[in-house]
Symmetry: C2
Subunit: 209 residues, 2 copies
């Protein structure tokens, strides 16, 4: 009979409160950082009693860790989807990279606070959720690396390229450009930003005389 649960993951009501808590936590932590954000603030912004936070999550750090997992899961899925879509449509690996750049921009456009918070935590050492972060980072970067590797194997990219470093650099390019976009020129359109990054990717800035 499965009692009162929705299809997959537990009761709907509970899921809704958890979602509210995620949303409250993500913006507050993006603004202030993890330690500077209090559980009382999170509860207040979510419109929920403090006790409810602890009814739903074992601790403040657990809430944060699940938030990270949840967010990066969305990003990874989106990147993977973009790569697969171009493959289905018969595009080359350059098109796949370009589509992933766009997917990254769309993600950041939609979840700027999450991105901000993720970047702020990624290279920290000595934190409780460091291992979670590493796992989850690898999932996302692996998608980009996969496309690069396939491109090299298929002769579309030079054999000289360093897959993992290039993947990091591409991620960095999109990440920083997008965060600056959102922070300092939020009025610009996504297409505009995408065009600028495409141009850079294809070496039309400094190569290809």
């Amino acid at each position: 009979m499965e009692s009162s649960s929705a299809a997959s993951g537990g009761s709907t009501r509970r899921e809704a409160t958890r979602q509210k808590l995620y949303e409250a936590a993500v913006t507050l932590i993006a603004e202030q950082g993890f330690s500077a954000t209090t559980v009382d603030e999170i509860a207040e912004r979510a419109g929920v009693a403090k006790g409810t936070v602890y009814y739903n999550f074992a601790s403040k750090s657990v809430l944060f860790e699940e938030l990270l997992r949840h967010g990066v899961g969305l990003l990874t899925a989106s990147l993977r989807e973009a790569a697969e879509r171009t493959a289905r449509e018969g595009g080359g690996k350059v098109d796949a990279l370009d589509a992933m750049i766009r997917a990254g921009l769309v993600f950041i456009d939609r979840y700027p606070a999450f991105t901000q918070l993720y970047v702020a935590e990624l290279w920290r050492t000595n934190r409780a959720w460091q291992s979670t972060l590493m796992v989850v980072r690898q999932q996302a970067v692996a998608v980009v690396e996969g496309v690069l590797r396939d491109g090299v194997a298929g002769g579309e990219f030079s054999e000289e390229i360093d897959v993992s470093l290039t993947a990091s650099a591409l991620v960095g390019m999109v990440l920083v450009a997008a965060l600056d976009w959102k922070s300092f020129q939020p009025e610009r359109s996504l297409d505009d930003v995408h065009a600028a990054l495409s141009r850079l990717l294809q070496g039309r800035v400094s190569g290809c005389r």
Copy 2:
């Protein structure tokens, strides 16, 4: 007879303790974040009493702000020097960009903790030192933008490029690649990393078939 001070900037002893405090603070804050790092920890690692911190800096945030200013000052000077050197040696703007990439890598190689901490704070809003951070960021990015602008004016780069976005993207490329290098593949050489990024800059990954 000018009493007990050394030539220019206040007593030497004081300057030495401030330096020790900077060094202690930068690593601790890079590891744990600003709020999670206590003044007691900073004092202990610097081998100094807590009171000394407050004798030398008005508050924890002021210490941090001065640290930021100090660090970004070093970076900006280094980028500017790289650009000027290539100009003196008759290199083009592509060479200047390449030299700045190297200068960025050298800086991050030398001050990884500072870089880490800077990235973690850069896109936060609502923090006391936000305005300091903006000013200081602009100084560094402006150097890259200047080279791009000159390159466009001199016909070396396409007129289509978006200067400020491209500058952000380039900074991001170097930043993320270097942080990943230091965090996950620290055994690699700087030349190696530099070569990979040069290749990407010159479009030899996906453009220029």
